[in-house]
């Protein structure tokens, strides 16, 4: 079943168009990463989905309904990039308050708040004023308030960017647990985070989706044989000339040569390996390293973002 369906969503701020006609669907129970460099339109997209700003044009249908009033009934959990709270409240008070706003009765709100705070690891700090919280604690509190009412759709804007490695680990584990229960869409500019918990990725650049699909599809699509050839440094002109001559071969898709190392993306790995090794042997090239591998998602990310 489709949880969220977005068609031709556009947002204009004066001359700028941070989000330019994006369309996508989220299956119920899926976990999708919204990936992109800074300023790609991730936050604007999430804020439109959360109903905090109106789209300039386009349509958002949550749980099959594009009516705003019904959407309000569908519970959404939203964590902004820089969550701010009432500093004069304690962590527990805040979570109880927002749980109440989501329609929970007093007692249930208190119970659920305890559970949520424990899940994000804020149990000990629950009775302290939020004004005394550290940045990481605020981020955790933000997560607690987003999950306390068991939302059907969880929108998280850079949930781990402000955390230290330990906190990052804990939050990623928490997300892995949550994805059993709800539909998650989270934005990040770190590919590694996306790879870890998500099964789908959408890449945004300049307000447009440039690539999307399941993690495996993307990996398949962008996996290409990669050869690394390194020659011994300071062995004269011939080896460098030979290295540069490799760039013009038929099997090369892309190449980059830095110093005495060439990184070659090739289409036919068997042919390429044969040629290179044979030439190196016949021309007595002082080969230091020869390695065959595949491109990673990281390379894909860089490529998609830069192109």
């Amino acid at each position: 079943m489709v949880m969220l369906s977005v068609t031709e969503l556009t947002k204009k701020f004066g001359m700028r168009t941070p989000v330019n006609g994006i369309s996508f669907q989220l299956e119920m129970g899926s976990c999708t990463a919204l990936l992109g460099p800074n300023g790609a339109g991730k936050t604007t997209t999430l804020r439109m989905l959360a109903g905090l700003i109106d789209p300039t044009s386009g349509n958002i249908a949550i749980a099959g309904s594009d009516d705003k009033d019904t959407q309000q009934q569908t519970s959404i959990g939203y964590l902004p990039q820089h969550p701010t709270f009432y500093g004069w409240m304690t962590g527990k008070e805040f979570v109880v308050y927002v749980a109440g706003l989501s329609g929970m009765s007093g007692k249930k709100a208190a119970n659920e708040a305890d559970i949520a705070l424990e899940r994000v690891g804020l149990k000990d700090a629950a009775k302290r004023r939020i004004s005394g919280y550290s940045g990481g604690m605020k981020q955790r509190l933000g997560l607690a308030q987003a999950i306390v009412h068991h939302p059907q759709l969880l929108l998280l804007d850079e949930p781990v960017s402000a955390l230290d490695p330990l906190g990052r680990r804990e939050v990623m584990d928490l997300l892995s647990q949550l994805r059993q229960q709800t539909t998650i869409l989270f934005s990040t500019h770190v590919l590694h985070d996306a790879e870890e918990v998500c099964d789908r990725m959408m890449m945004l650049r300049d307000g447009e989706i440039v690539e999307s699909g399941s993690l495996r599809e993307l990996a398949e699509k962008y996996r290409q044989p990669l050869l690394t050839v390194q020659v011994e440094a300071g062995t004269g002109q011939e080896s460098n000339t030979w290295l540069h001559s490799l760039e013009d071969r038929a099997f090369i898709i892309e190449s980059s040569i830095t110093g005495n190392t060439a990184v070659l993306t090739v289409n036919d790995v068997i042919e390429a390996r044969h040629t290179i090794l044979q030439e190196a042997a016949s021309q007595r090239i002082p080969l230091l390293r020869f390695e065959a591998g595949t491109t990673s998602l990281e390379d894909m990310f860089m490529k998609v973002v830069k192109s």
Partner: protein, 258 residues
């Protein structure tokens, strides 16, 4: 309804924790009590300054209780309004721009509940402050100058409170539209303009909410010609401000970081 109540309680808790529920009533009490006390001790104060002859001092009239009450109230219509504007200018803007509104409004919270809770919270604060301050003024007037008629004082107080409620509604609307200080300045300008236009050309502005203050002052003199138009515009003004705030709150979009 439940959500409005929840948010209203949060507003009150915030006022307690930020000491707003302490300092604003204190300022209002000082404001109210100063008038009867200075009026009463004026001869002594002048005598202490030493420049005034004794005969002149004995000739100084002791003001009537009703006059002192009117003067106390007029303090509230100027400095009181200023305090209301300063204390409440960030009431909506603060939440919108700091980002706390984002966490609240993303839930199934009607905009109107949000606005009404804010309005009720501010009115509660005002009610407490004004009741204490005005009560203080009344008490000292009664002790120092002589008795004040109950009915007159209550009616005048209620009329002033209506004027405050109008000012508060206007401020709430402006705070929804503008950032804090702009809201305060603009609401003060509008309130000032209403008062000035009415006192300059009363016949044209007989509907003006500012006329409420005249009713209040006239109450002590005994003769009041109430006009329905004034009350209708005041109450309608409050309702329109509230409705417009609720409508604008979501339309403007909610920034989520400062």
């Amino acid at each position: 309804m439940k959500i409005t109540w929840l948010m209203y309680r949060k507003e009150l808790l915030e006022m307690v924790r930020s000491y707003k529920l302490l300092w604003i009533p204190v300022v209002f009490i000082l404001l109210g009590v100063m008038q009867p006390i200075t009026s009463f001790y004026l001869p002594n104060i002048l005598a202490a300054s030493g420049d005034i002859s004794a005969e002149l001092l004995t000739q100084l009239p002791v003001p009537l209780p009703a006059d002192v009450m009117v003067q106390s109230l007029s303090q509230y219509s100027t400095i009181g309004i200023l305090i209301i504007a300063i204390a409440g200018m960030n009431i909506v803007a603060g939440e919108r721009y700091s980002g706390t509104a984002a966490l609240v409004l993303v839930r199934s919270v009607p905009s109107l509940s949000f606005i009404i809770a804010k309005w009720m919270g501010q009115l509660t604060l005002l009610f407490v402050s004004f009741t204490l301050g005005y009560g203080g003024a009344w008490y000292y007037t009664a002790i120092l100058m002589g008795p004040v008629r109950w009915g007159d004082a209550l009616i005048a107080g209620a009329l002033y409170f209506l004027w405050f409620a109008f000012a508060q509604s206007l401020l709430l609307l402006l705070s929804t539209i503008f950032r804090g200080s702009a809201a305060a300045v603009i609401s003060l300008l509008i309130m000032g303009a209403l008062s000035v236009t009415y006192s300059l050309i009363p016949s044209w502005f007989s509907w003006s909410p500012a006329r409420i203050l005249n009713f209040a002052n006239a109450t002590f003199a005994g003769e009041v010609n109430y006009t329905a138009a004034t009350f209708v515009t005041s109450v309608l003004g409050c309702l329109v401000c509230l409705a417009a705030s609720a409508w604008l709150l979501r339309r403007q979009g909610i920034p989520d970081q400062s």
